[in-house]
Symmetry: C2
Subunit: 309 residues, 2 copies
């Protein structure tokens, strides 16, 4: 079982409008809703790849009930979200049908009470011992201490469970110091963490801060990995056009999937890049195109050097 | 008991953002939620005036549950909404904190199945015989026949219950022909119905189409009434600045309240104008400022002529 943690779960709502004009009234022509938050996206991709996944984090209120009802209907995903008094946040993506552009409105999410944070930690400790790997993903809701990920990384390591961290800002900075197995920043997060815009140098610097392996995503240019076994760059075969929402989460799912299957790093990276590209290809944001994935995975170019033993 | 009907109920969500920019991502700084739809707004104002109110219409899905939970907590309001399979629509008002302007996103609402429409009519027939007055308010959801209000007006009249109709377009046109006691169009709806922009002439024309009394709202300029007892114009004492959301619904509540208390028309109109202005004054959209109402109600100017007996 792979465990994914989403402390700031969401109900992701997409509205299609003919044309978005500020200060006007709009009839929404199409509404879609799905459970959101990075860890839930990772879980869905892992489940589609055939892994058993358990999701934890927080859920509350009417929106939390909708998130949990939807998760229960997702094959391969077990819901272990912890109840909170506040309501799970909504995110609203307003898609302008004329231009295809998206305007995003993100609710702040509920404030997590100290007792709720304690209850979550207890649930997490119970789950992490049975997990083959853990993913800690996304922003922290108000009320959760900024060192939360550092604590959760230490708990996973104490249980002997490999842990991937996908966060940003101070929670990432503190989480790295607790020595996670993999951190997966994007270009901006890596530059903010290290002050360097040179990919390999920045990835090496992030390793020195505590991460065993750093896999940084550079959008259409693929991934850069700095690991104890070597350094690689993995690039998709062609520039993919589409909606990049969730592409980073699909890359995390590819890395975790390759980790629990004990694949060598170049194969893990090829899987991560192909899943990421197949997510950009898919018509629905956050889904991946399976045929596209099967076709792309053999065509990812991985170049690099293995560390001398 | 006063009965209000809202066939297209909603969960009204208000988002405050620092500044709305299309194609950007926004952190919502403040979220408020309330049951919406014109008949529910009328019910809330009537309850605040001390009347017993029953609300009916449709509710479904997670948003419908939230609407019903909130109504249950509103003193003086009894929930008789009829369950439907589809989810009650949301409306999202995005308030730009910099300019104060509002951008509105309205979901279409669930399609009402024929069996659900029949179930509603049965509930309505049971409620209308015990009601002192009925208000039929707002748009029709998909699946409800365009002649719906005409049928509901006839049912009320057969039960001897006075009925106010606040609708627009073809449902208003057909509803008027069924001879409601009061229709309450705004300036645009009245002009669309009659083709005339001259208030009193248009109101008289609407009476000829079947309405016993016509009370048309002209925003800050107040109300124009054409009734069997006479014709009046009611004007607030000063131009009121604020948010006009719900002002028309407060006017409907004032008219119904005055009807069941058997007030003479000039007093009903003064109450309707004062409630409407007190709603514009209130900081929260759709609420009314009680002190403002008490102060304004004696200062509304009502001029007109009584029909010779």
């Amino acid at each position: 079982m792979i465990l994914t943690v989403t402390l700031n779960t969401a109900l992701d709502i997409t509205y299609r409008v003919p044309s978005l004009r500020p200060h006007a009234s709009h009839r929404v022509t199409d509404v879609t809703e799905r459970p959101g938050g990075k860890g839930l996206n990772v879980a869905r991709v892992l489940a589609a790849l055939g892994h058993e996944v358990t999701v934890t984090g927080f859920a509350g209120g009417a929106t939390g009930r909708v998130v949990q009802e939807r998760l229960t209907r997702t094959a391969g995903v077990v819901d272990a979200l912890v109840p909170v008094a506040g309501a799970t946040r909504r995110t609203v993506a307003v898609v302008d049908a004329r231009t295809g552009d998206t305007t995003q409105l993100n609710e702040p999410g509920p404030v997590i009470a100290p007792a709720e944070w304690s209850a979550f930690q207890e649930v997490y400790e119970g789950l992490v011992v049975d997990a083959d790997a853990v993913a800690l993903c996304g922003s922290l809701p108000p009320g959760v201490p900024v060192g939360a990920y550092a604590g959760l990384v230490r708990t996973a390591r104490a249980a002997g469970t490999p842990v991937l961290l996908d966060a940003s800002g101070e929670p990432l900075r503190r989480g790295i110091a607790a020595r996670p197995d993999i951190v997966k920043p994007n270009a901006d997060e890596l530059a903010e963490l290290t002050g360097s815009h040179e990919p390999l140098r920045a990835a090496q610097d992030a390793r020195r801060r505590g991460a065993q392996s750093v896999v940084a995503s550079f959008g259409a240019e693929g991934l850069v990995a700095a690991t104890p076994e070597g350094r690689w760059r993995a690039v998709p075969p062609a520039r993919i056009h589409g909606n990049p929402t969730g592409a980073g989460d699909s890359a995390s799912a590819g890395l975790l999937s390759g980790l629990v299957e004990r694949l060598p790093w170049p194969e893990r990276l090829a899987r991560a890049v192909a899943l990421s590209a197949a997510t950009v290809l898919a018509p629905v944001a956050g889904e991946f195109d399976r045929a596209g994935y099967e076709e792309l995975v053999g065509r990812v170019t991985v170049t690099g050097e293995v560390t001398a033993a």
